[in-house]
Amino acid sequence: MCRNNAAGTGMSTTLVSSPHGSRPNRVDRVMQEVLLALVPGVLAMIWFFGWGVLVNIALAVAVAVAAEAAVMRVRRRPIRPAIGDYSAVVTAVLFAISVPPTLPWWMTLLGMVFAIVLVKQLYGGIGYNPFNPAMAGYVFLLVSYPVAMTTWLAPGMLAEHSLSLMESLRLIFAGALPSGIEWDAISAATPLDAMRGKLDQGLAIQEIRLSPLWGDFGGRGWEWIANWFLLGGVYLLWRRIITWHIPVSMLSALAVAAGVFWLIDPTTHPFPAFHLFSGAAILGAFFIATDPVSACTTRKGQLLFGASIGILVFVIRTWGGYPDAVAFAVLLMNIAAPTIDHYTQPRVFGHTRDGVNR
């Protein structure tokens, strides 16, 4: 663009190459809409798992923004636009709601620095990271500190004791439980963990589901969190921030894979809705797998990308070493995304495979 003093009039006109105008959907607005869509699910998590969720989010956002600013400074790039696009905030929130609400502060710090500095900025920053930074940070911690990363709080109505804000802060920052309270009193296995553990002990689904841990189709509390994330996802679809391709293909592939095995043997395979409404399936389908940078770009590619994640989630949950699988499945498919894009280029107008015009 250049400003131009139109010959002699003192009138200054602007010279821009066409098109002269654009749809008001900038990257920062996209990220803000994503944050807005996360609100109901996050509120539900706070309702069921207490203040720790909020503390994690605040901590992760602060670390992510600071790390982003630090890298931009080292790279001698303008800091304000990088932070102003809100992408680091989205990464931080997604990371914070994926980790346990009692995670020690230094692990959150480590995970966020890994995600922002190594996974995102070392590849060139927003637009260039091949892996989803939030999920890479999560998996980095999961393989490094498996115990801390799988110790979850019990949902509010099942816990003997709910942590207050001060107790959460002390637990996260000083590692101190409230006096007279043991871990057993506040923690519980996640539904996916419990299901895996009990199935490995040889129990049938019908017996496992007698436990008070279960709600209508997923874990108690968990299924409601999934519902509220689903609401946020529908909001994103309605606002055209995301398209249906990835979430629908991922959830239907997961449901179909789970459904086939459930029909074959309902005593050792939970029914499909359990898979959809436990763990991070809904959150992952609408908020994580849809990260545009690390996903496929072509529509056909997105369908394949989403469906593959859905199937990988089922495979890893059922036969893999970890109870939940969304992070692993997303990262695995991130690797495949450029290749899928390469083989799913759209048919150009006027082109046919045999060279004859239709």
Partner: protein
Amino acid sequence: MALLSIFKRHPTFDHGIYPVEHKDLTADKPIRRLPFAPELVIPLAQHRGAPAVPLVKVGQEVVRGEPIARAEGFMSVPMHAPATGVISAIALAPTADGPKTPAIVLKVYHAASQEVLYDLERDLGAMTPEEIVAAVQDAGLVGLGGAAFPSHVKMKPPAGKVIETVVVNGCECEPYLTCDHRIMLEQSEALIRGITLVLKATGAKRAIIGVEDNKLDAVAHLRAVLPKDLPITAEAVETKYPQGAEKMLIKSLLRKEVPIGGLPADIGVAVYNVGTLAQMGDLLPKGRGLIERVVTVSGPAVANPGNFMVPIGTPLRFLLGQVGLAADRVGEVILGGPMMGMAVASLDVPVTKAVSGVVALEREDPDLARRKVYPCIKCGECLKACPISLNPSMLGELALARQYEQMAGEFNLNQCFECGCCAYVCPSNIPLTQYFRIAKSINRDQHK
């Protein structure tokens, strides 16, 4: 029926975008004449092909309608004097494209008449197809939709190709523009005569007028006045940009795709703009030349927007002065529509045969401000928008990496007709269309 019509969509093509139309500013403004500008600047290269050659000398008097430049070969058209006056110069003059080009400057006589004094009555019925083609060239007619392709050339398809269908383009998909809308409403008689001439010259069996469904009044009017014995129909198509691109309109109306690298003639189609055919129907019987055209002058920086019959060569400064340009607020003056039009560097640029609109945007226009460019986040919005299913995201990345050859070879860069949909939807504000223009021009230079 009313309920069913919600589900029944007018035919259309895949992808594309829905920009804000802004057509209400001028859609109901009838075509008006303006006084002559004191000086008209008529570039010799207003069309695709060889520039015209001047027939006049400096100081020579000309009357309105008189030929002042002749066509140079078949791929060229002549020019005619848009007003009565005296030739004051044949010199370089500014154009929208940037470089100055040779132009005939005409000093208009004070109180010159709007009446055309140079006639050559013809009997259309007795003319052979060849005579019609020659007469169209003599009239200096070019595509008035913006392409400025000599009209008579399209009437003679390459050897072995037969034109079966004439598609008449009344889409006018660019925001702000309403000149074609007014032409269909006000000049339908001349339009139908023009279509009949093209049918006769090409030997085509039928003609379809394609109109976007934001102009259903024009469709209804045309259907009412079209004679039943002529093989001409008027069809509504979806209001979607770029419906008016000829490949898109052919797809919408005929469900056929112009083969890659090919022309509409390859599938038996010729496309004409309604403005071109209305002029043809008006000029040919009288044996006149193209000396004026309908121009929509609009935009937020214009006080009295409207549709005007503007003599070719009228400087923008004069034209915008007539409609009340807010000189303190104007940010950008565009020839054509905002999606594909060209921003001008100087208001001395004249209206040429290809100029369908003059749009003045305000400096504070949100579309002009806040163009912060982010890196591509590979959201795929551009893939969803591209009417010919290219991969603008990938092309943009390749342009940044200067892989211009690969853009053309592997990713069909040369099929891009720069409609601007990709840049319009890009959340990162990447000037994709500009990248592609640059890449194409570099490739052209490399292959010289």
